[in-house]
């Protein structure tokens, strides 16, 4: 009788475990996330290009001219372009800078996208036409030296590679 009870308990135990096994998620394949549809933003957008950075000494104001004309497509010379939408209308342009105390090029490409160099952003939807202007960036009177700027674009999920670096000397 004792052994009958033991066998009954042993039978109940695996049935209990197997009945709850279905509620657990199964592991995913190693290539699961290489599918771009599972990545926010999908394809990476192309960056804008900085045309010039001008310093106005009287106001100590910086003016940055850049191009994000996406009509050229991803292979164009200045095409800020989102392959997922086929346009640049949804793009946001991020502006980064540093000064002569920490000048580029950086040995680690990852640093170009660090928050410590992030200055601000503008939206494509705020502009009409090309090239575009970012102004009202004022430089402190106590600062003198070289400033470096670069830009990227973002589609709400992914950020593009950086643009070329432009520099300006503040006297």
């Amino acid at each position: 009788m004792l052994y009958g009870k033991i066998i009954s308990l042993l039978l109940i135990f695996p049935v209990f475990l197997s009945s709850t096994a279905c509620s657990v998620d199964n592991p995913v394949e190693k290539s699961y996330f290489t599918d771009l549809s599972r990545i926010k933003g999908g394809e990476k957008p192309a960056p804008p290009q900085i045309i010039s950075v001008d310093f106005l000494p009287a106001e100590r104001e910086l003016q940055i001219n850049f191009s994000s004309d996406g009509s050229d497509g991803p292979g164009g010379p200045d095409g800020a372009y989102d392959p997922d939408t086929g346009t640049n209308e949804n793009l946001v342009y991020y502006l980064y800078y540093t000064d002569g105390s920490d000048p580029p090029p950086f040995s680690d490409e990852h640093r170009y996208y660090s928050e410590i160099y992030y200055l601000g952003y503008v939206r494509e939807s705020e502009y009409s036409g090309d090239p575009k202007l970012i102004n009202e960036i004022y430089v402190s009177e106590s600062f003198a030296g070289t400033l470096y700027f670069w830009m990227t674009s973002g589609d709400g999920g992914r950020e593009s590679d950086r643009s070329d670096i432009a520099e300006v000397v503040i006297p």
Binding site: L2, K5, I6, L9, L10, F13, F16, L17, T20, A21, S23, V24, D25, N26, P27, V28, E29, K30, S31, Y32, F33, T34, L36, R38, I39, K40, G41, K44, E109, H110, Y112, Y113, G157, R158, E159, D161
Partner: protein, 238 residues
């Protein structure tokens, strides 16, 4: 009062002291084991024998003092219950959730431990599967991030949870490993308590399976010269 009689008196006083010590030790042992109210008697049956009074012989061969009164020897037959193999009970308790209770017949404890062990096993299994799942997500995301865009933190769509970066998936992976650790520790505690409970109950049960004997002898109706009574009560446990 001659020297021989003095020797008898001294022997009896010493014997009485030893008897009292034995009784005290037996009672203490019984109380320590929780086996009743401290009585050293476990017998089922008591047989009393009325012995004829015999004359005592002194050491020099002369007839000694003849005592009046009766001597009664109680013979208590040992009480013995069926012994439970301790290691068998512990093995069943370890491999069968609540199985130990089948030996000590406390089904409330058995049900409690059975439910705890089943729940504990389910929790460990559940967290192990979660850990496997989190590990696969983290490894897949890390590999994809390095392959697709190593300079940016990509956000990966996790089913039912929205988008997460590799760092966030790593934290989930670490958390799931931590959950397994806690679940295993809790299970070990449950198993230790269950085994200890089975051990205590079976050990207590087996205490009653050990033969116990009582040998009693006392003298009644002592005369004026030997005005004391002696009671002997020995419980012999083997």
């Amino acid at each position: 009062m001659n020297g021989t009689h003095n020797m008898y008196v001294n022997l009896r006083i010493t014997a009485a002291a030893i008897m009292l010590c034995c009784m005290g030790a037996t009672i203490c042992h019984a109380r320590t084991c929780g086996l009743g109210d401290g009585s050293p008697v476990y017998g089922l049956e008591r047989t009393e024998l009325l012995l004829a009074e015999a004359a005592k012989e002194n050491l020099d061969g002369t007839e000694g003092k003849r005592y009046t009164g009766n001597r009664i020897v109680s013979n208590v037959y040992p009480q013995k219950t069926e012994e439970i193999p301790l290691y068998q009970a512990l093995a069943v308790d370890f491999f069968v959730p609540g199985g130990g209770s089948l030996y000590y017949n406390n089904y409330y404890w058995g049900a409690a431990f059975g439910v705890l062990k089943c729940a504990g096993a389910w929790v460990v299994y559940h967290y192990y599967r979660k850990w496997e799942y989190r590990r696969s997500l983290y490894r897949s995301a890390k590999k994809a991030n390095e392959m697709i865009d190593p300079y940016h933190d990509l956000q990966f769509r996790v089913p039912g949870e929205g988008y997460k970066t590799v760092d966030e998936l790593k934290r989930d992976y670490d958390r799931s490993a931590q959950n397994i650790t806690f679940a295993v520790i809790a299970n070990v505690l449950v198993y230790v308590v269950s085994l200890y409970t089975t051990y205590v109950f079976v050990k207590r049960h087996n205490e009653n399976s050990i033969p116990t004997f009582e040998i009693g002898a006392w003298k009644e109706g002592a005369d004026a010269e030997t005005g004391y009574a002696v009671r002997l009560s020995i419980t012999h446990r083997m």
